[in-house]
């Protein structure tokens, strides 16, 4: 099966061929590199930009205003923080012009920890992104969702922030992308650029099909009765793994939801699950002060307070200025499998 980077590449290819995607651009996005995580290799409309994030976001807004369908990349979300004003403009242009203009652009950016990226290749962007009105924000945790959400993003009329959990970009999926060859070696031969000289290389794209994961729909990853776990991105597979182990070894049945869309999020699914379990744990790796999970806790409190069996919990990144390079530092800063397991276990065990 494809890994997430390949899935993104295939989605971009499908979208430029079939859905009107016009520009895939950013630093090192075009040939020869095709992106620092290979996500844009072989994409026809991919081009390299100057090293200027403000220029990149500005260009995307301008292209969108002129009827193009751009997908801009910020190489690491760690470097997006000088563009927040422009992101706000992309998000407020439709509203400020009272519905005169829309800005159908996509920003893709890798987020999160997991590759020993040190202070500036480990940031999360959940909290900042969800505080900006006017955007839709998605974050896949599987290659298939990555494909389907990217197609949905291209079909959107509004700005979409597409967050790529960098720790998952090289992880292979468990489901085939429609049209993807069953053999991953073959897939790799077809669409991965060769190492070294590649100026004459052209990808051979499989006959991909349209597959859209609607923005705003979460995914029930595992059913359970004792506690609800809501997560997204890097921590989602860890939560699923923790839940599986807890079910097998300790009889704790956690229901795991992959939020997938951070905004507008699928409160219906989350709410129904909390209704059932009475306990909810929100897991993400952004720093824990003014964290998007805290919004979800507030929402939980508003709708479910009197029926909760335990306080809704947040497991998130520590409120420190960065993720340090050394193993111990990274492990201590953001939720790891053990932290998630412990948190689920504790919540399941909690008695008023």
């Amino acid at each position: 099966m494809a890994n997430m980077a390949q899935a993104i590449r295939m989605a971009l290819h499908y979208a430029e061929e079939n859905l009107g995607l016009t520009d895939v651009f950013g630093e090192d996005v075009g040939p020869p590199l095709g992106g620092v995580f290979t996500c844009t290799q072989g994409i026809q409309s991919a081009w390299n930009s100057p090293l200027d994030e403000r220029g990149i976001i500005g260009m995307a807004i301008g292209l969108a205003l002129a009827g193009q369908k751009p997908c801009a990349e910020i190489q690491f979300c760690d470097y997006i923080y000088n563009t927040i004003d422009l992101l706000k403009i992309a998000g407020n242009t439709c509203w400020s012009s009272n519905g005169d203009w829309n800005v159908p652009m996509i920003v893709r950016t890798p987020v999160g920890s997991g590759i020993r990226g040190s202070i500036y290749h480990s940031h999360s962007f959940d909290a900042t992104a969800t505080h900006i009105p006017g955007w839709k924000i998605v974050m896949p945790s599987t290659p298939l969702d990555a494909y389907g959400l990217l197609l949905a993003a291209v079909l959107e009329d509004n700005p979409v922030m597409y967050l790529e959990p960098k720790a998952l970009l090289r992880i292979k999926g468990e489901e085939l992308i429609p049209g993807e060859p069953a053999d991953d070696k073959m897939l790799s031969k077809m669409i991965d650029a060769p190492l070294g000289e590649r100026s004459k290389w052209k990808p051979q794209w499989p006959a991909l099909e349209k597959y859209v994961v609607p923005i705003g729909k979460a995914k029930l990853v595992r059913e359970g009765l004792h506690v609800t776990v809501v997560s997204w991105g890097r921590t989602l597979p860890l939560a699923a793994k923790a839940a599986k182990a807890l079910a097998e070894n300790e009889g704790i049945e956690a229901e795991v939801i992959d939020l997938r869309t951070l905004w507008p999020y699928d409160w219906e699914m989350v709410s129904a699950s909390i209704e059932k379990t009475g306990k909810v744990l929100y897991v993400n790796e952004d720093t824990e002060v003014t964290n998007f999970g805290e919004h979800l806790i507030r929402r939980t409190i508003e709708d479910h307070f009197y029926k909760l069996l335990a306080p809704p919990r947040l497991l998130a990144g520590k409120f420190v200025p960065g993720i340090g390079l050394a193993d111990n530092l990274e492990m201590a800063s953001v939720p790891q499998l053990k932290d998630i397991t412990d948190a689920i276990r504790a919540l399941a065990a909690e008695q008023p």
Partner: protein, 338 residues
């Protein structure tokens, strides 16, 4: 800041005769109309019919020809304008009615640019490729290369025009615009304009800017660049025409700095009173029109009177129009398919 350098047309005043009388009269008409509109907006502010005024009195001699020379329409075949907040004269020259500006001043639900949401002077008109004016200084310079790239790709002779003030060029976005517009092999059809009134609110340009001319910044990027007297509508027309023809044909950037006045200070925050010590482009143009027999004083007085009455009447009409509802804050957060 030194005086403007009139690159081609040297120190002599441009001759009225270089433009047909009809055009001179049309420019004058629009300049007066724009001035009367701005003065009405100021008066509305002063009499409590608006919370804030900012606008373009003192820039008419430049902004009117700009509007006249634009290729008006929707989509990449036409010109895009990424304006700042002093460009009512450009809008009027494009054919816009003054009533929209009055409505925005009074933040009525009928305000065609923002439905009562935004400040005066914050135009938006997709039908004519007028990108929404937003308050943060200089962001339009980061955005404009995007429409220009779409136009480069589209072909034809539509261009992108971006304007802003002098102080704002200190923001990195101005530099970004120069860089993105001059990528080798990917030069963009963009007319980069700076209207230099030598002030940023209370701060004199001479205290913050080491450049002799802001337009000199284009040279390092091999961008054709020029500083002109934006208080002279004939110079402005001719220079804009030349610059726009270059951009339309060559599909390459041009940096044009126009020296202009700020006749009512920065905004209502600084009182919005007539300053008196800066050149008034309408006054000097009228002197020339009269001296050269293009228009008489009486004709010009009548014109001003006509616009004053027309626009006062519009202001009265706007006064009774409804304000937006509180509940409408949730409208248009996302695009509603049309």
């Amino acid at each position: 800041m030194s005086r403007p350098r009139l690159v081609d047309r040297k120190e002599e005043k441009s001759s009225l005769g270089s433009l047909p009388a009809e055009l001179l009269i049309r420019m004058h008409d629009l300049m007066v109309k724009a001035r009367v509109l701005e003065e009405r907006l100021i008066q509305m502010y002063k009499s409590g019919h608006g919370y804030f005024w900012i606008g373009g009195p003192g820039e008419e001699a430049f902004n009117v020809p700009l509007g006249l020379l634009m290729k008006k329409g929707q989509g990449p075949a036409y010109d895009y304008l990424h304006a700042h907040y002093r460009q009512s004269a450009t809008l009027l020259a494009l054919g816009e009615s003054p009533i929209g500006a009055l409505r925005q001043m009074k933040n009525t639900a009928t305000d065609p640019y923002s439905g009562g949401r935004n400040f005066a002077g914050h135009f938006s008109k997709r039908e004519w490729n007028i990108a929404p004016v937003s308050s943060p200084i200089e962001v339009q310079y980061a955005i404009a290369p995007g429409t220009a790239l779409a136009q480069k790709r589209f072909g034809g002779d539509g261009i992108t025009i971006v304007t802003g003030g002098d102080a704002g060029t200190a923001e990195g976005d101005f530099a970004s615009c120069l860089i993105w517009s001059s990528r080798p092999g990917n030069e963009l059809p963009i007319l980069i304009i700076v209207t230099n009134n030598q002030w940023g609110i209370s701060t004199a340009a001479a205290t913050q800017h080491g450049e002799k001319h802001i337009s000199d910044r284009g040279r390092a990027f091999n961008i054709r660049s020029r500083t002109i007297d934006g208080n002279d509508p004939v110079t402005s027309y001719l220079e804009l025409k030349e610059a726009m023809e270059y951009v339309r044909k060559e599909r390459k950037p041009f940096l044009l700095e126009a020296m202009v006045s700020r006749l009512y200070g920065h905004s209502s925050a600084s009182g919005a009173n007539f300053v008196g010590d800066e050149p008034d482009c309408i006054k000097s143009f009228e002197e020339r029109l009269e001296a050269e027999g293009v228009l008489t004083r009486a004709e010009m007085d009548a014109l001003r009177k006509k616009y004053t009455e027309e626009i006062a009447e519009m202001a009265r009409q706007v006064r009774d129009e409804p304000q937006p509802d509180g509940a409408s804050i949730y409208d248009h957060i996302y695009w509603e398919k049309k």
